[in-house]
């Protein structure tokens, strides 16, 4: 399941939906918004996406991961819009018969997401703002 949403992510709701009796591992990764970056204090962030393409790229990544690591269940949820500090911007839940598969899958998914999925974040400071991923503010 792939979701891009402006709504706050409810982890428990997604865990309940992901649990299945054939899995011995249910692994959860949360990307959360930090209050600092490169020595600057961050007030909040905003995420923007090319939504149709982001969903397509995430589905490619998910399909590959399910096939390669034999996952029983996989959810990737990414928030966009304004996100306050310490909120969840990315939730990935992977379940598999054994733990190694879900660990490897989640590491791969996060890595690929940061390379190719068209989502951008902008940090807001007390004295300005900056897009992350620019040469002077790398991701």
């Amino acid at each position: 399941m792939i979701v891009i949403t402006e709504n706050i992510i409810n982890i428990q709701e997604h865990i309940n939906e992901s649990n299945d009796s054939s899995s011995g591992s249910l692994l959860i990764f949360c990307g959360t918004t930090r209050d600092n970056n490169l020595g600057k204090s961050v007030d909040y962030l905003e995420y923007e996406s090319y939504i149709d393409m982001a969903k397509l790229k995430l589905k490619e990544i998910a399909d590959f991961s399910i096939s390669k690591w034999g996952l029983n269940n996989l959810k990737i949820i990414h928030r966009i819009g304004k996100i306050e500090i310490s909120e969840i911007s990315l939730l990935i839940i992977a379940s598999s018969p054994h733990r190694n598969e879900s660990f490897r899958a989640i590491e791969y998914i996060v890595s690929e997401l940061k390379k190719s999925v068209p989502i951008w974040k902008k940090e807001y400071y007390s004295d300005g703002e900056s897009w992350i991923g620019s040469p002077d503010n790398p991701n």
Partner: protein
């Protein structure tokens, strides 16, 4: 042929628009489109060298031949997560 160009993030902000509609001659490729935008859209070329390009949601190389009605997106370095 008619092409829709989509802009995002810092690029959208810099040009103060999220879409550009333009006409190109048949058999134009992405490189031709970039040349056109460099000439006609002030500020376009400042960052675009480091951007990826997607046509109808799929990443493509700069020599990809465009077709009438294509949506071409300039993708700044991504930073999701």
């Amino acid at each position: 042929m008619k092409i829709t160009v989509k802009l995002f993030g810092p690029h959208k902000e810099k040009l103060n628009k999220d879409s550009i509609f333009l006409s190109l001659s048949d058999n134009s490729n992405i490189f031709d489109l970039i040349c056109n935008l460099n000439q006609n859209e002030p500020g376009f070329k400042d960052n675009v060298k480091s951007y990826a390009v997607a046509v109808n949601l799929i990443y493509q190389d700069k020599d990809f031949i465009l077709n009438d009605g294509d949506e071409v997106a300039f993708i700044p370095p991504v930073s999701g997560g």
